[in-house]
């Protein structure tokens, strides 16, 4: 195919399994439908997942794992629900 901008011939390259066309003259790049998304997906695989926020400090006598691994979760324990409101 020809470059839509400068009409020089375009060459097909394979970038990480994604076919892209690059102009031999102006170096412009042509992407087919879905190829930009494919590249974005690949890029996000490269960036490291964000580390979880560090747990706030807890005392040495606290629950194991510095307050993690406790009894909270998706559903609060009924007994703790009551404790939240009691002297």
């Amino acid at each position: 195919m020809q470059c839509p901008k400068c009409h020089a011939p375009m060459h097909t390259y394979n970038r990480n399994g994604v076919q892209i066309e690059q102009c031999s003259n102006c170096r412009g790049i042509f992407l087919d439908y879905g190829e930009l998304e494919a590249l974005t997906r690949l890029e996000s695989q490269w960036s490291q997942p964000a580390p979880p926020p560090p747990a706030p400090p807890a005392p040495a006598w606290g629950a194991p794992h510095g307050g993690h691994g406790g009894h909270y979760g998706h559903k609060r324990h009924k007994s703790f629900g009551h404790m939240l409101f009691s002297s």
């Binding site: 040495a60 006598w61 606290g62 406790g70 009894h71 609060r76 703790f80």
Partner: protein
């Protein structure tokens, strides 16, 4: 719930007080609490509270006065002094909307932190005010546990208690005698006034007094330390307190040197209450209660941290 003479009379007094406030009372009435230490009834927008039997006017009146002077922190009482009723003292309050016990995820942790910071920054009142009652109540819970009978979990709780400094066991004056404290913070101590969406205010003046302000942060701190309160909720509470310039903990860095002793005391108190209750009903501890006892057991091998304020 059996209608005791006190409850019946208190209900009557609340109605009378409510009708004094408005001639168009819809007369919705409810019992909000009926415990040995407090009976609370609501009548429309008025709440009447019968305080614990051992409450004296000498202690209660300055606490009421202090709350009345801090309308940005405390729900203000309707009457400046308590009224005697059947050997109890009763007080009247406007109704405030509480935290929904069925939806603790909606807990106003930021408001709790902000209100406590505001309270702790308030100059101590010039009137004589009794000390904050937190340590005395913890000692009371431990005394009841001693009388409750044998159980393998009693020893670690009592042992953890014995390692606390004397002030935290109410056996010596607190190292801070000028900072105003609530003394019994939990989610039942916050209401929105005017209901249903006014600003959050603290209620319950019975333990109000001068003392170690970290005590007011120590119950959520204990819950967090025991793995019960999720880290994000603890962080929301602590951050709001620090953003309000609360003096109980340093502005940043590790808050635990200041929180350690009160959080241990509150863990022991909560474990003692749970254990006493379980023994009275002859039932095993549930996993939440067991986690408090386990924390007490671990405390024994880690000496209490000395807060900078308690070292002076």
């Amino acid at each position: 719930m059996t209608a005791t003479p006190l409850l019946a009379e208190l209900t009557f007094r609340a109605r009378a007080q409510a009708h004094e406030r408005t001639s168009t009372c819809p007369c919705g009435a409810a019992t909000l609490a009926d415990r040995p230490d407090a009976t609370v009834v609501r009548h429309a927008d008025t709440v009447a509270k019968a305080h614990a039997p051992d409450t004296t006017p000498t202690d209660l009146t300055p606490r009421l006065t202090t709350a009345a002077h801090l309308p940005d922190v405390f729900l203000a009482p309707l009457t400046p002094t308590a009224t005697p009723l059947q050997s109890r003292l009763i007080t009247f309050w406007p109704y405030g909307a509480p935290v929904d016990p069925d939806d603790p995820d909606a807990a106003p942790w930021e408001a709790a932190g902000t209100l406590l910071a505001r309270l702790h920054r308030t100059p101590a009142p010039t009137i004589p005010l009794p000390p904050m009652r937190g340590p005395a109540k913890a000692a009371h819970a431990v005394a009841r546990l001693r009388d409750a009978g044998p159980h393998p979990a009693v020893a670690p709780v009592l042992h953890a208690w014995s390692r606390l400094p004397a002030w935290a066991r109410a056996e010596a004056p607190m190292p801070d005698t000028t900072t105003l404290c609530h003394g019994d913070l939990h989610l039942g101590q916050l209401v929105r006034h005017p209901a249903p969406d006014g600003p959050w205010r603290l209620i319950d003046v019975d333990d109000l007094g001068a003392g170690v302000p970290a005590w007011d942060l120590a119950r959520p701190a204990a819950w967090y330390a025991c793995g019960l309160l999720p880290p994000d909720e603890w962080t929301r509470f602590l951050t709001a307190y620090r953003e309000g310039d609360g003096p109980a903990v340093p502005a940043d860095g590790d808050p635990w040197p200041a929180l350690d002793v009160p959080a241990r005391a509150l863990t022991v108190q909560t474990a003692a209450r749970a254990l006493t209750k379980a023994l009275a009903r002859d039932r095993p501890l549930d996993e939440v209660e067991q986690s408090l006892v386990d924390a007490c057991a671990r405390m024994v091998s880690v000496p209490p941290q000395l807060a900078p304020s308690s070292a002076k």
